[in-house]
Symmetry: C2
Subunit: 203 residues, 2 copies
Protein backbone atom coordinates (compact mmCIF):
# COMPACT_ATOMS: atom_id res chain seq x y z
CA UNK A 1 0.00 0.00 0.00
CA UNK A 2 1.13 3.48 -0.85
CA UNK A 3 0.72 5.24 2.44
CA UNK A 4 0.28 8.58 0.76
CA UNK A 5 -2.64 7.45 -1.40
CA UNK A 6 -6.14 8.42 -0.38
CA UNK A 7 -8.34 5.54 0.81
CA UNK A 8 -11.21 4.52 -1.44
CA UNK A 9 -14.74 5.45 -0.41
CA UNK A 10 -17.21 2.99 1.10
CA UNK A 11 -20.83 2.87 -0.01
CA UNK A 12 -23.24 1.84 2.72
CA UNK A 13 -26.60 0.47 1.53
CA UNK A 14 -29.13 0.09 4.33
CA UNK A 15 -32.79 0.22 5.35
CA UNK A 16 -34.03 1.43 8.74
CA UNK A 17 -36.19 -1.70 8.94
CA UNK A 18 -33.15 -4.00 8.87
CA UNK A 19 -31.85 -5.14 12.25
CA UNK A 20 -28.36 -5.94 11.01
CA UNK A 21 -28.27 -2.48 9.43
CA UNK A 22 -28.81 -1.14 12.95
CA UNK A 23 -25.43 -2.51 14.03
CA UNK A 24 -23.68 -0.88 11.08
CA UNK A 25 -25.50 2.46 11.26
CA UNK A 26 -24.45 2.86 14.87
CA UNK A 27 -20.76 2.33 14.23
CA UNK A 28 -19.91 3.07 10.59
CA UNK A 29 -19.35 6.83 10.78
CA UNK A 30 -16.77 6.60 13.56
CA UNK A 31 -15.14 3.50 12.06
CA UNK A 32 -14.79 5.12 8.62
CA UNK A 33 -13.43 8.33 10.14
CA UNK A 34 -10.73 6.39 12.03
CA UNK A 35 -9.42 5.13 8.68
CA UNK A 36 -10.03 8.44 6.84
CA UNK A 37 -12.47 6.61 4.56
CA UNK A 38 -15.19 8.64 2.84
CA UNK A 39 -18.61 7.30 3.73
CA UNK A 40 -21.39 7.37 1.13
CA UNK A 41 -24.83 6.72 2.60
CA UNK A 42 -27.15 4.77 0.30
CA UNK A 43 -30.61 4.40 1.88
CA UNK A 44 -32.86 2.04 -0.09
CA UNK A 45 -36.02 -0.02 0.31
CA UNK A 46 -35.25 -3.62 1.18
CA UNK A 47 -38.87 -4.76 0.81
CA UNK A 48 -39.01 -4.53 -3.02
CA UNK A 49 -35.70 -6.40 -3.22
CA UNK A 50 -37.16 -9.21 -1.13
CA UNK A 51 -40.30 -9.20 -3.27
CA UNK A 52 -38.22 -9.50 -6.43
CA UNK A 53 -36.60 -12.60 -4.86
CA UNK A 54 -40.06 -14.08 -4.39
CA UNK A 55 -40.36 -13.32 -0.68
CA UNK A 56 -43.45 -11.65 0.70
CA UNK A 57 -41.61 -10.53 3.85
CA UNK A 58 -38.23 -10.61 5.59
CA UNK A 59 -36.64 -14.08 5.58
CA UNK A 60 -36.43 -13.65 9.37
CA UNK A 61 -40.23 -13.68 9.41
CA UNK A 62 -40.78 -16.27 6.68
CA UNK A 63 -38.26 -18.77 8.07
CA UNK A 64 -39.22 -19.41 11.66
CA UNK A 65 -36.04 -21.22 12.75
CA UNK A 66 -33.82 -18.52 11.27
CA UNK A 67 -36.01 -15.80 12.76
CA UNK A 68 -35.79 -17.32 16.25
CA UNK A 69 -32.03 -17.46 15.86
CA UNK A 70 -31.65 -13.89 14.66
CA UNK A 71 -32.98 -12.38 17.87
CA UNK A 72 -30.53 -14.42 19.94
CA UNK A 73 -27.76 -13.36 17.62
CA UNK A 74 -28.74 -9.69 17.76
CA UNK A 75 -28.63 -9.67 21.57
CA UNK A 76 -25.14 -11.18 21.48
CA UNK A 77 -23.91 -8.86 18.72
CA UNK A 78 -25.15 -5.78 20.54
CA UNK A 79 -23.30 -6.95 23.63
CA UNK A 80 -20.17 -7.44 21.51
CA UNK A 81 -20.40 -3.91 20.08
CA UNK A 82 -21.65 -2.43 23.39
CA UNK A 83 -24.87 -1.21 21.79
CA UNK A 84 -28.22 -1.04 23.55
CA UNK A 85 -30.86 -3.43 22.22
CA UNK A 86 -34.57 -4.12 22.48
CA UNK A 87 -36.19 -6.71 20.27
CA UNK A 88 -38.77 -4.74 18.29
CA UNK A 89 -42.37 -5.73 18.91
CA UNK A 90 -43.09 -5.02 15.22
CA UNK A 91 -40.70 -6.41 12.62
CA UNK A 92 -39.91 -5.35 10.04
CA UNK A 93 -41.09 -1.81 10.75
CA UNK A 94 -42.37 0.39 7.94
CA UNK A 95 -39.55 2.74 6.99
CA UNK A 96 -40.67 4.52 3.83
CA UNK A 97 -40.81 8.12 4.99
CA UNK A 98 -37.61 7.85 7.11
CA UNK A 99 -35.82 6.55 4.00
CA UNK A 100 -37.17 9.38 1.86
CA UNK A 101 -35.79 11.83 4.41
CA UNK A 102 -32.49 9.93 4.50
CA UNK A 103 -32.19 10.33 0.75
CA UNK A 104 -32.31 14.11 1.25
CA UNK A 105 -29.82 13.91 4.10
CA UNK A 106 -27.30 11.61 2.44
CA UNK A 107 -24.93 14.44 1.54
CA UNK A 108 -25.67 16.54 4.64
CA UNK A 109 -23.68 16.72 7.84
CA UNK A 110 -26.72 15.69 9.89
CA UNK A 111 -27.07 12.30 8.17
CA UNK A 112 -25.14 10.21 10.72
CA UNK A 113 -26.95 11.64 13.73
CA UNK A 114 -30.31 11.34 11.95
CA UNK A 115 -29.75 7.68 11.04
CA UNK A 116 -28.55 6.74 14.51
CA UNK A 117 -31.59 8.43 16.05
CA UNK A 118 -33.98 6.55 13.75
CA UNK A 119 -32.29 3.23 14.43
CA UNK A 120 -32.41 3.87 18.19
CA UNK A 121 -36.13 4.58 17.94
CA UNK A 122 -36.69 1.26 16.16
CA UNK A 123 -34.25 -1.06 17.92
CA UNK A 124 -33.80 0.47 21.37
CA UNK A 125 -37.00 2.35 22.14
CA UNK A 126 -39.23 -0.07 20.19
CA UNK A 127 -41.13 2.77 18.56
CA UNK A 128 -42.75 3.29 15.16
CA UNK A 129 -40.67 5.43 12.80
CA UNK A 130 -42.81 5.83 9.68
CA UNK A 131 -44.80 8.92 10.59
CA UNK A 132 -44.51 12.65 9.98
CA UNK A 133 -44.97 13.32 13.70
CA UNK A 134 -42.05 11.18 14.77
CA UNK A 135 -39.82 12.49 12.01
CA UNK A 136 -40.76 16.10 12.68
CA UNK A 137 -39.66 15.64 16.27
CA UNK A 138 -36.38 13.97 15.29
CA UNK A 139 -35.52 16.63 12.72
CA UNK A 140 -36.46 19.46 15.05
CA UNK A 141 -34.27 18.01 17.78
CA UNK A 142 -31.42 18.04 15.26
CA UNK A 143 -32.03 21.76 14.75
CA UNK A 144 -33.38 21.29 11.23
CA UNK A 145 -36.38 22.83 9.39
CA UNK A 146 -38.56 19.76 9.84
CA UNK A 147 -41.62 20.77 7.84
CA UNK A 148 -39.63 21.87 4.79
CA UNK A 149 -37.61 18.66 4.82
CA UNK A 150 -40.69 16.50 5.24
CA UNK A 151 -42.47 18.29 2.41
CA UNK A 152 -39.53 17.76 0.11
CA UNK A 153 -39.20 14.14 1.25
CA UNK A 154 -42.82 13.49 0.26
CA UNK A 155 -42.50 15.19 -3.12
CA UNK A 156 -43.06 13.14 -6.25
CA UNK A 157 -39.49 13.80 -7.39
CA UNK A 158 -38.06 12.43 -4.17
CA UNK A 159 -40.41 9.41 -4.14
CA UNK A 160 -39.14 8.62 -7.62
CA UNK A 161 -35.53 9.00 -6.48
CA UNK A 162 -36.02 6.40 -3.76
CA UNK A 163 -37.54 3.98 -6.25
CA UNK A 164 -34.59 4.59 -8.57
CA UNK A 165 -32.09 4.10 -5.75
CA UNK A 166 -33.75 0.78 -4.94
CA UNK A 167 -33.61 -0.26 -8.61
CA UNK A 168 -29.93 0.62 -8.67
CA UNK A 169 -29.44 -1.63 -5.64
CA UNK A 170 -31.17 -4.51 -7.40
CA UNK A 171 -29.14 -3.94 -10.57
CA UNK A 172 -25.91 -4.00 -8.61
CA UNK A 173 -26.78 -7.36 -7.06
CA UNK A 174 -27.90 -6.18 -3.63
CA UNK A 175 -29.99 -8.98 -2.06
CA UNK A 176 -29.95 -7.95 1.60
CA UNK A 177 -28.81 -5.27 4.02
CA UNK A 178 -26.54 -3.91 5.14
CA UNK A 179 -24.49 -4.11 1.94
CA UNK A 180 -21.18 -2.35 1.36
CA UNK A 181 -19.39 -1.54 -1.86
CA UNK A 182 -15.76 -0.61 -2.30
CA UNK A 183 -15.61 0.18 -5.98
CA UNK A 184 -17.46 -2.72 -7.56
CA UNK A 185 -16.59 -5.14 -4.80
CA UNK A 186 -19.55 -6.09 -2.62
CA UNK A 187 -19.51 -7.01 1.08
CA UNK A 188 -22.66 -8.34 2.75
CA UNK A 189 -23.64 -7.88 6.34
CA UNK A 190 -22.40 -6.08 9.40
CA UNK A 191 -19.94 -8.95 9.87
CA UNK A 192 -18.07 -7.70 6.78
CA UNK A 193 -18.00 -3.98 7.58
CA UNK A 194 -14.49 -4.12 9.00
CA UNK A 195 -13.25 -6.10 5.98
CA UNK A 196 -14.83 -3.58 3.63
CA UNK A 197 -13.24 -0.64 5.46
CA UNK A 198 -9.88 -2.38 5.37
CA UNK A 199 -10.25 -2.88 1.62
CA UNK A 200 -10.70 0.89 1.24
CA UNK A 201 -7.17 1.37 2.54
CA UNK A 202 -5.51 -1.29 0.35
CA UNK A 203 -3.61 -0.67 -2.88
CA UNK B 1 -15.05 -16.70 35.09
CA UNK B 2 -13.65 -19.27 37.47
CA UNK B 3 -10.32 -19.99 35.85
CA UNK B 4 -10.19 -23.46 37.38
CA UNK B 5 -13.51 -24.57 35.87
CA UNK B 6 -13.42 -26.78 32.81
CA UNK B 7 -14.63 -25.10 29.59
CA UNK B 8 -17.91 -26.28 28.15
CA UNK B 9 -17.85 -28.47 25.05
CA UNK B 10 -18.67 -27.18 21.58
CA UNK B 11 -20.88 -29.14 19.18
CA UNK B 12 -20.01 -28.65 15.54
CA UNK B 13 -22.79 -29.48 13.06
CA UNK B 14 -21.61 -29.58 9.46
CA UNK B 15 -21.98 -31.15 6.03
CA UNK B 16 -19.09 -31.76 3.60
CA UNK B 17 -21.20 -30.16 0.87
CA UNK B 18 -21.30 -26.82 2.69
CA UNK B 19 -18.68 -24.27 1.65
CA UNK B 20 -18.85 -22.27 4.87
CA UNK B 21 -18.43 -25.56 6.77
CA UNK B 22 -15.14 -25.92 4.90
CA UNK B 23 -13.75 -22.85 6.67
CA UNK B 24 -14.74 -24.20 10.08
CA UNK B 25 -13.63 -27.79 9.47
CA UNK B 26 -10.15 -26.57 8.56
CA UNK B 27 -9.65 -24.55 11.71
CA UNK B 28 -11.92 -25.80 14.50
CA UNK B 29 -9.77 -28.59 15.93
CA UNK B 30 -6.75 -26.35 16.50
CA UNK B 31 -8.89 -23.44 17.70
CA UNK B 32 -10.75 -25.61 20.22
CA UNK B 33 -7.51 -27.17 21.47
CA UNK B 34 -5.99 -23.73 22.11
CA UNK B 35 -8.84 -23.01 24.53
CA UNK B 36 -8.96 -26.59 25.94
CA UNK B 37 -12.50 -26.90 24.63
CA UNK B 38 -13.87 -30.39 23.93
CA UNK B 39 -14.97 -30.67 20.31
CA UNK B 40 -17.99 -32.80 19.44
CA UNK B 41 -18.31 -33.49 15.72
CA UNK B 42 -21.90 -33.65 14.48
CA UNK B 43 -22.01 -34.56 10.78
CA UNK B 44 -25.51 -34.26 9.30
CA UNK B 45 -27.27 -33.96 5.96
CA UNK B 46 -28.04 -30.36 5.10
CA UNK B 47 -30.16 -31.27 2.05
CA UNK B 48 -33.17 -32.64 3.98
CA UNK B 49 -33.08 -29.55 6.22
CA UNK B 50 -33.27 -27.32 3.14
CA UNK B 51 -36.07 -29.46 1.74
CA UNK B 52 -38.02 -29.11 4.98
CA UNK B 53 -37.69 -25.32 4.57
CA UNK B 54 -39.24 -25.63 1.12
CA UNK B 55 -35.99 -25.32 -0.84
CA UNK B 56 -35.13 -27.80 -3.56
CA UNK B 57 -31.42 -26.91 -3.38
CA UNK B 58 -28.88 -24.74 -1.59
CA UNK B 59 -30.01 -21.10 -1.29
CA UNK B 60 -26.68 -20.26 -2.97
CA UNK B 61 -27.99 -22.04 -6.07
CA UNK B 62 -31.63 -20.96 -5.83
CA UNK B 63 -30.83 -17.28 -5.24
CA UNK B 64 -28.58 -16.18 -8.06
CA UNK B 65 -27.46 -12.83 -6.59
CA UNK B 66 -26.59 -14.43 -3.26
CA UNK B 67 -24.84 -17.30 -5.00
CA UNK B 68 -22.70 -14.94 -7.07
CA UNK B 69 -21.76 -13.12 -3.90
CA UNK B 70 -20.88 -16.23 -1.95
CA UNK B 71 -18.03 -17.21 -4.25
CA UNK B 72 -16.49 -13.74 -3.93
CA UNK B 73 -16.89 -13.94 -0.20
CA UNK B 74 -15.36 -17.41 -0.01
CA UNK B 75 -12.24 -16.29 -1.88
CA UNK B 76 -11.83 -13.39 0.54
CA UNK B 77 -12.52 -15.49 3.62
CA UNK B 78 -9.99 -18.12 2.56
CA UNK B 79 -7.42 -15.38 2.14
CA UNK B 80 -8.29 -14.09 5.61
CA UNK B 81 -7.81 -17.53 7.17
CA UNK B 82 -4.89 -18.41 4.88
CA UNK B 83 -6.68 -21.42 3.47
CA UNK B 84 -6.36 -22.66 -0.10
CA UNK B 85 -9.48 -22.33 -2.21
CA UNK B 86 -10.89 -23.47 -5.54
CA UNK B 87 -14.47 -22.75 -6.44
CA UNK B 88 -16.03 -26.20 -6.92
CA UNK B 89 -17.25 -26.93 -10.45
CA UNK B 90 -20.13 -28.92 -8.91
CA UNK B 91 -22.07 -27.37 -6.04
CA UNK B 92 -23.36 -28.62 -3.74
CA UNK B 93 -21.50 -31.91 -4.05
CA UNK B 94 -23.15 -35.15 -2.99
CA UNK B 95 -21.80 -36.02 0.46
CA UNK B 96 -23.89 -38.94 1.70
CA UNK B 97 -21.25 -41.65 2.02
CA UNK B 98 -18.58 -39.29 3.42
CA UNK B 99 -21.07 -38.24 6.10
CA UNK B 100 -21.90 -41.85 6.94
CA UNK B 101 -18.19 -42.49 7.42
CA UNK B 102 -17.89 -39.31 9.50
CA UNK B 103 -20.61 -40.58 11.79
CA UNK B 104 -18.43 -43.61 12.53
CA UNK B 105 -15.37 -41.44 13.00
CA UNK B 106 -16.95 -38.77 15.22
CA UNK B 107 -15.51 -40.26 18.42
CA UNK B 108 -12.26 -41.46 16.81
CA UNK B 109 -8.90 -39.73 16.82
CA UNK B 110 -8.79 -39.73 13.02
CA UNK B 111 -11.92 -37.59 12.64
CA UNK B 112 -10.21 -34.21 12.28
CA UNK B 113 -7.72 -35.40 9.67
CA UNK B 114 -10.46 -37.26 7.79
CA UNK B 115 -12.75 -34.24 7.66
CA UNK B 116 -10.00 -31.88 6.56
CA UNK B 117 -9.00 -34.29 3.80
CA UNK B 118 -12.58 -34.54 2.52
CA UNK B 119 -13.05 -30.78 2.59
CA UNK B 120 -9.76 -30.29 0.72
CA UNK B 121 -10.90 -32.73 -1.94
CA UNK B 122 -14.12 -30.78 -2.43
CA UNK B 123 -12.99 -27.17 -2.05
CA UNK B 124 -9.31 -27.22 -3.02
CA UNK B 125 -8.91 -30.11 -5.48
CA UNK B 126 -12.41 -29.74 -6.94
CA UNK B 127 -13.01 -33.49 -6.81
CA UNK B 128 -16.06 -35.65 -6.21
CA UNK B 129 -16.22 -37.12 -2.70
CA UNK B 130 -19.29 -39.36 -2.68
CA UNK B 131 -17.74 -42.64 -3.87
CA UNK B 132 -16.35 -45.76 -2.24
CA UNK B 133 -13.19 -45.48 -4.35
CA UNK B 134 -12.33 -41.95 -3.17
CA UNK B 135 -13.15 -42.78 0.44
CA UNK B 136 -11.19 -46.04 0.38
CA UNK B 137 -8.16 -44.08 -0.75
CA UNK B 138 -8.61 -41.40 1.94
CA UNK B 139 -9.11 -43.93 4.73
CA UNK B 140 -6.18 -46.07 3.58
CA UNK B 141 -3.93 -43.02 3.50
CA UNK B 142 -4.95 -42.40 7.11
CA UNK B 143 -3.79 -45.93 7.96
CA UNK B 144 -7.32 -47.19 8.56
CA UNK B 145 -9.10 -50.44 7.54
CA UNK B 146 -10.98 -48.84 4.66
CA UNK B 147 -13.16 -51.72 3.51
CA UNK B 148 -14.38 -52.54 7.02
CA UNK B 149 -15.20 -48.90 7.72
CA UNK B 150 -16.99 -48.48 4.39
CA UNK B 151 -19.03 -51.64 4.94
CA UNK B 152 -20.11 -50.45 8.36
CA UNK B 153 -20.80 -46.96 6.99
CA UNK B 154 -23.17 -48.44 4.40
CA UNK B 155 -24.97 -50.69 6.91
CA UNK B 156 -28.68 -50.16 7.48
CA UNK B 157 -28.03 -49.31 11.13
CA UNK B 158 -25.60 -46.55 10.22
CA UNK B 159 -27.83 -45.19 7.46
CA UNK B 160 -30.58 -44.92 10.06
CA UNK B 161 -28.23 -43.15 12.48
CA UNK B 162 -27.46 -40.44 9.92
CA UNK B 163 -31.17 -39.91 9.29
CA UNK B 164 -31.71 -39.66 13.04
CA UNK B 165 -28.81 -37.25 13.45
CA UNK B 166 -30.34 -35.06 10.75
CA UNK B 167 -33.75 -35.18 12.46
CA UNK B 168 -32.08 -34.15 15.70
CA UNK B 169 -30.56 -31.19 13.88
CA UNK B 170 -33.97 -30.13 12.58
CA UNK B 171 -35.54 -30.55 16.02
CA UNK B 172 -32.87 -28.36 17.60
CA UNK B 173 -33.55 -25.57 15.12
CA UNK B 174 -30.60 -26.08 12.78
CA UNK B 175 -31.40 -24.32 9.48
CA UNK B 176 -27.95 -24.11 7.91
CA UNK B 177 -24.31 -25.07 8.32
CA UNK B 178 -21.96 -24.76 9.98
CA UNK B 179 -23.93 -24.55 13.22
CA UNK B 180 -22.40 -24.58 16.69
CA UNK B 181 -23.99 -25.33 20.04
CA UNK B 182 -22.64 -24.47 23.46
CA UNK B 183 -25.16 -26.12 25.73
CA UNK B 184 -28.48 -25.06 24.23
CA UNK B 185 -27.13 -21.85 22.79
CA UNK B 186 -26.85 -21.85 19.01
CA UNK B 187 -24.31 -19.99 16.85
CA UNK B 188 -24.69 -19.93 13.08
CA UNK B 189 -21.92 -19.75 10.55
CA UNK B 190 -18.15 -19.76 10.46
CA UNK B 191 -18.31 -16.07 11.40
CA UNK B 192 -19.56 -17.09 14.84
CA UNK B 193 -17.08 -19.91 15.56
CA UNK B 194 -14.80 -17.70 17.63
CA UNK B 195 -17.75 -16.33 19.62
CA UNK B 196 -18.98 -19.86 20.29
CA UNK B 197 -15.54 -21.00 21.46
CA UNK B 198 -15.28 -17.98 23.72
CA UNK B 199 -18.68 -18.81 25.22
CA UNK B 200 -17.32 -22.26 26.14
CA UNK B 201 -14.83 -20.59 28.46
CA UNK B 202 -17.30 -18.22 30.16
CA UNK B 203 -18.96 -18.81 33.54
Amino acid sequence: MNKMSKPKAIEFWFDFASNYSYLSVMRIEAAAARLSVDLRWRPFLLGPIFHSLGWSNSPFVLQKAKGDYVWQDMARECEKYRLPWTRPSTFPRASLLPLRVALLGAEQDWMGAYCRRLMSLNFVEDGEIDSREVLAQVLTQLGLPAQAILDEAASEANKLRLRQQTETAANRGVFGAPMFFVGDEMFWGNDRLDDALLRCTQR
